[in-house]
Symmetry: C2
């Protein structure tokens, strides 16, 4: 009786690979609906841009590799259309059936384009390697001059960056006031300025209900939703976020059925509650845990703090934990400070770094933070993320022993300057 994994990208293959390590002789089958597996989905915008030259550069492993080196049966073009848990059986589009003892759902997420009908040839989404390959070919062959991106989330702004670097005039249409998933003024101000500095036009409050606007090429990157239909029809419980509910072993309400990656909820360490924040890092981690447990291991996923970073025209926009308004909605009494400081001395090319820290007034515990800047944003957000995972208070954070030497930072790191400021407020 096999372990069956539905989905062959980050979470699915992490699950399969980890299951193999835990259980050397288990039969493992991976069913991937698309033609390719194991590609770096986060690299797709850079393939569209042209920085990644070949689609194959994004592919880490082939089905042959998994078959020969790991004894994992990876099948592409294998679209699952139904799951019968009472019979422990999945049905493929072809009518073929595959029996399982344990099942890992790693069905990912997508932009919901259903309201827009079938998409004309100049309109693209950017979920799969196939999407990116077609968009890249379109840019090369049709030489579009005007591009419209629908949605100002991560993928939308990465796509806007990629199109702009290909010389297009680019307009981003966003229905809400949210930019990179946040609507607070400090953050959106920084995003707006970066887009304006690089000549991208941004229009908020535009609800795109049809595609009858002028554009040579359109990228749809709005309405990102977890792919849960298959699971829901099989009786898998869906959480309030709309993603598959899991426990800390990544098991769903159906015993023996696990979920991981962009289709699944995970626990949020700061709030203690289930959340849906689809990211590649979490997909790989939860895939590993699901795979280990589905193969008979016993591993826990500690949860996330919601750390993300996106590069927009050379600046990192990084965030972790809760924003002040998210914290308030969760019942905390948040205090937030924002500072600006140099990332390192000017003679080492230091540039402006913007830092926000959020703490709880009642407990002084850090709740979240953000870092925006051209260098060091990733390292600095990771320090905040580590502090959140460890439950540090601001007074502890303020005295962190961070590395300093002129080529790398300032003697008072921007993080510590922000913490000193926050200490005056809590």
């Amino acid at each position: 009786m096999a372990l069956v994994v539905i989905g062959g990208v980050a979470a699915g293959l992490s699950a399969a690979a980890r299951a193999r390590r835990v259980s050397p002789h288990l039969e493992i089958v991976v069913l991937e609906k698309g033609p390719a597996i194991s590609y770096g989905a986060c690299g797709l915008p850079y393939f569209v841009e042209g920085r990644v030259r070949e689609a194959s550069d994004l592919i880490v492993y082939t089905p042959e590799y998994f078959r020969k080196q790991r004894n994992i049966d990876v099948r592409t073009g294998a679209r699952v259309v139904a799951i019968s848990h009472p019979r422990r059986e999945v049905t493929l589009e072809t009518g073929a059936r595959v029996r399982y003892e344990h099942l890992v759902m790693a069905t990912g997420a997508r932009c919901d384009t259903r309201g827009l009908g079938s998409l004309p040839p100049h309109v693209f989404t950017l979920h799969t390697l196939d999407d990116a390959t077609r968009l890249r070919a379109f840019l090369r062959e049709k030489q579009p001059r005007n591009g419209v991106v629908v949605g100002a989330g991560y993928i939308g702004l990465e796509a806007a960056d990629a199109l702009r670097r290909n010389g297009l005039r680019v307009t981003v249409l966003e229905r809400s006031g949210q930019l990179l998933l946040r609507d607070d003024e400090w953050w959106t101000g920084l995003v707006r300025k970066q887009l304006a500095d690089y000549g991208v036009e941004l229009r908020c409050g535009v609800d795109v209900r049809s595609l009858d606007f002028p554009a040579d090429v359109v990228v749809l990157a709005a309405g990102f939703k977890p792919n849960v239909e298959l699971a829901a029809e099989a009786g898998v419980e869906i959480g309030r976020s709309g993603a598959i509910r899991t426990d800390d072993r990544m098991e769903t309400n159906l015993r023996g059925v696990f979920a991981a990656g962009d289709c699944a909820e995970v626990g949020h360490i700061v709030t203690g509650r289930p959340t849906w924040i689809p990211l590649g890092t979490t997909a790989n981690k939860t895939g590993r845990v699901a795979g280990a447990n589905a193969a008979g291991g016993r591993e826990r996923f500690a949860g996330i703090v919601g750390t993300s970073i996106v590069g927009i025209f050379g600046a990192g926009f990084a965030t972790t934990g809760l924003t002040a308004s998210q914290a308030r909605a969760e019942g905390f009494s948040p205090v937030a400070v924002q500072i600006e400081a140099k990332s390192k001395p000017g003679y080492f090319g230091g540039s402006k770094t913007s830092v926000e820290l959020v703490a709880d007034r009642a407990t002084r515990k850090l709740l979240g933070g953000s870092v925006v800047g051209e260098d060091g944003a990733a390292g600095r957000i990771n320090v905040i993320a580590t502090a959140l995972a460890a439950g540090l208070r601001v007074d502890q954070f303020e005295q962190l022993d961070l590395a300093y030497s002129p080529p790398f930072s300032t003697v008072w790191d921007p993080l510590l300057i922000a913490a000193q400021q926050l200490m005056k407020e809590v």
Copy 2:
């Protein structure tokens, strides 16, 4: 009755400035033996190199600024030769006396060159702005072709880098087998390779007892010791490290006498014991705490984890916490792993990153780590430093929610790859 601070660089001025905030009307006197105050001592090698153009670029504040803006009486050329604590009085070289109610010792550290007699004009140390100014002038005027650096610690290798970039043939002489304060093979191998790649000759096991070797210019950067003579003569207790013993308020055994910066011991969070690791970051932090308490406040210094980074020909050599051999000497049962991974995808210029993690087998707690690489070393060492300050275990570290996007890192950050490896060993 005044607060008197001996020393006007990092720790001393942090203490004075913080004391002023805590106590707006306190009389504060800073006595600095040299001609300049408030300079970035860590920037001196870059002034020697020529990257920092003017000595004045390293000066943050002038005595006038402190006098006018902060109402702090900063006196340069004021060398203290004796302290009489029973009389609450310090005596200057000039014979003048200054009375104090509270005293902050921020006397720094120096390379001990006493065994070498008086130094000829081509031989330099690199502690003060004056040292660096004279060395820079010597390089410009005498155009030396061969340089010798004595000592392979931080300042020694930064000096070697600076001389080499000025076109000199450079030889580093080191008495011990230690490079950047460590003698383990993994670390010294990385340092050796970097020096060799950039054409610096390294000779270990050379005990320099005289200066009668051929060299156009010599930088002495060995035998770094805290300046504690003044304190010791006044009855201030010196710790086992040779630096001034302090409690967590940075107070010495003499009530009302505080110490901060490179002359003082601080608590090490990982070992729980006093240690002497002279660094600019710690100088600023302990100065703040000493100044606050000397002015009547009540602040604690949580201690350090021993985080440092040094740039050698473009690569960061960063370390925090304990090495395996230090951990063993402290009674832990250390397990260490070393890995190599890409800092980010090749299409974003990712380069080799070397990571070491050390954990305690008994408790699984992280004890230390190191990161060497051309990008991201500072951010990554800071994550380990934060984990050490928080007392995280390897299994917690392994699931840290670190930021990922192709311009910034790989989906499994090198830190997490190292942690996965370490999980197999603990």
